[in-house]
């Protein structure tokens, strides 16, 4: 149970908001739940709702609305490549396809070892460092970008980065 295991963290999160507005802690608590369980389980929705004084249904609505919350399990980590317009103008669509091919998956699929689910996502505010991607897992969310515009990230570099996540 989150409330017992993470009492101090939860109290710190709740203290950020006026005491009569505990509901504001729903979003940070959902991140906590996701880190603990890998995705937001129905039980976690109820737990978060109880802490914040809202129903599990309302919490489920939040999970459904926001892209970074998940109500189902995927690979251990989600590899989210930006293929939105500015990145696409710099070759990100091909980069995503090539990366998928090397990993033996299609966009949206999970690698056979269960490590990575590869997805194409909307703009991540890294347009000047395309191609770029983020890795979302239990340890949060991390950006990986091209070093400079002259040296766009190669698929091999991306595979090396992903390799470094294994066993973490």
């Amino acid at each position: 149970m989150l409330a017992e295991k993470y009492r101090a963290e939860i109290d710190t999160l709740l203290a950020k908001y006026p005491p009569e507005h505990k509901r504001s802690a729903v979003m940070p608590l959902l991140y906590l739940a996701q880190q603990e369980y890998g995705y937001v389980t129905p039980a976690a929705m109820a737990e978060v709702g109880e802490i914040c004084g809202v129903s599990a249904t309302q919490v489920a609505g939040i999970v459904g609305f926001y892209s970074l919350y998940y109500d189902h399990r995927a690979g251990k980590r989600r590899v989210q490549v930006c293929t939105d317009l500015p990145c696409a103008l710099r070759g990100a669509e091909k980069f995503a396809d090539d990366l998928c091919q090397k990993l033996g998956v299609k966009l949206g699929e999970t690698t056979k070892d269960g490590e990575f689910t590869v997805e194409a996502v909307m703009c991540l505010a890294g347009c000047d460092k395309a191609p770029m991607f983020q890795v979302q897992g239990a340890d949060g969310l991390h950006y990986h970008e091209s070093e400079t515009p002259d040296k766009p990230m190669t698929v091999e570099q991306a595979l090396g980065i992903l390799e470094s996540y294994k066993g973490r």
Binding site: R23, S24, F65, S67, L89, D128, G140, H142, Y143
Partner: protein, 446 residues
């Protein structure tokens, strides 16, 4: 540019460290405000500076602050949601010059007589948020946040709040809903946030870059700030340059002193393979598409001059599109974005973006007749002006302006199109298109 006003980390190494920031006059403006100025004097100074909102709307900042109604407690919220495709300036400010941003937020909070402020960041900025949490801890330890600041009764605390991947939360009322732990859906306005904002209390929401201007305005005075930029567009702006350029990146420039041509060629190093500029999106995916004509390329970059060309300076997220790009593909990308990001509250936007995407996907597959391109125009013309927030307007802006100026790009995919060249991904020659000059400044909405 001689001196950076916002991207000061490019002039002063390690300015992200508190001691370095303090050595360079850091937090002196906040102290000056709290110890020598009344909140009204701070508001008047910012009003006099002519500073306008850098998040997109360009609304005068001081005027916005003056709208606060007489109720307490009040809140100030920094809008660091930065989700417009092509925008990556607030991120650089928070990563490299965070203290100047926080000082601006603190001065805004003092002006609003707020004791609690939030920095709302998009959820993807997870690592930046972790760093900024530590920055705020340090500010508390050093007595720059907390009770009795500078020996006065004024108290202030700031917290970071992470969103979770929703473009719509960049709209200020949706952002406030999100902090309240609800779906990020825009509110009906009025009442505006300055009257009923966070927790139904008077609230100021300002963009990160806007706030980062404030410390130097207070330290050096509004008269100094007015010497930068133009009469109506005073100050500096970070231009996010992306797309078909050799050197994409952030360029801090005085408003109105540089042309698009200078941005693309002098700062951005020109277009790869020396291709021609076909189109320009000035404010990310939500732009009226401008044609890459000399008339447009030689326009000075300020709010008024860009408006005169039929687009908006907005967040100055300048996406360059070269001649090899098919605008039907481009609008497919922008429409897919807006369809994904529509919050679903207003029917014209929710259903309109769905059907626009459906048509554009068929156009992209070549599974259309020319009449379907007309249908796209019809659908896109029925969204603007009918929704609670501007997302609906944003979604149709690139579609309608592309259809108007680059119709051949769409028609070439139609089965009944007379194809001059086989399966051209390249545009038809410029001479084959109608005259480029857009007479109407806005898309044909209502």
């Amino acid at each position: 540019m001689a001196e950076h006003i916002l991207l000061r980390h490019r002039d002063i190494p390690d300015i992200h460290k508190l001691d370095v920031y303090l050595q360079h006059g850091g937090y002196a403006a906040f102290e000056k405000a709290v110890t020598t100025l009344t909140p009204q004097q701070v508001i008047d100074e910012v009003k006099a500076s002519g500073l306008r909102g850098r998040g997109g709307a360009g609304f005068p900042t001081g005027v916005k602050w003056g709208f606060l109604t007489k109720d307490f407690p009040r809140y100030v919220v920094a809008n660091s949601d930065e989700s417009e495709p092509g925008t990556f300036k607030d991120r650089e400010i928070m990563e490299r010059n965070p203290h100047q941003f926080f000082e601006g937020l603190m001065i805004a909070a003092y002006a609003a007589q707020a004791n609690l402020a939030y920095n709302y960041m998009r959820g993807e900025f997870w690592d930046i948020a972790r760093r900024l949490d530590r920055v705020l801890d340090e500010l508390r330890q050093r007595g720059l946040l907390g009770q009795n600041l500078f020996g006065t009764p004024y108290a202030l605390d700031i917290h970071n709040h992470l969103g979770a991947g929703a473009y719509i939360c960049g709209e200020e009322s949706a952002l406030l809903e999100s902090i309240e732990g609800k779906l990020g859906q825009p509110r009906l306005k009025p009442p505006f946030p300055a009257d009923k904002g966070l927790y139904n209390k008077p609230t100021i929401v300002n963009n990160t870059e806007t706030l980062t201007n404030v410390p130097l305005i207070i330290a050096r005075g509004a008269a100094w700030y007015k010497t930068l930029g133009t009469e109506k567009s005073s100050g500096v702006k970070v231009f996010c340059l992306s797309g078909s350029v050799r050197q994409p990146g952030n360029y801090e420039l005085e408003l109105g002193k540089f042309t698009l041509r200078q941005l693309i060629y002098d700062f951005g190093g020109g277009v790869p393979d020396d291709r021609k500029v076909k189109a320009i999106l000035m404010s990310g995916a939500s732009s009226n598409v401008l044609m890459g004509t000399d008339d447009v390329l030689d326009a000075p970059m300020d709010y008024e001059s860009i408006a005169a060309k039929g687009a908006a300076l907005g967040s100055a997220s300048v996406i360059i599109v070269d001649e090899s790009v098919d605008l039907a593909w481009l609008t497919l990308k922008t429409t897919r974005f807006f369809k994904h990001e529509s919050c679903g509250k207003c029917t014209p936007c929710r259903e309109g973006t769905y059907w626009m995407l459906n048509l554009l996907e068929r156009i992209h597959r070549g599974d259309v007749m020319k009449a379907d391109v007309d249908l796209l125009n019809t659908v896109a013309s029925q969204i603007a002006g009918k929704c609670l927030c501007p997302l609906g307007e944003f979604a149709v802006a690139p579609v309608l302006t592309s259809l108007k100026q680059f119709r051949a790009d769409f028609d070439q995919h139609a089965k009944d199109a007379k194809k001059a060249a086989p399966a051209a991904t390249r545009p038809a020659p410029a001479a084959a298109r109608p005259a480029p000059r857009a007479k109407e400044p806005a898309p044909a909405g209502d």
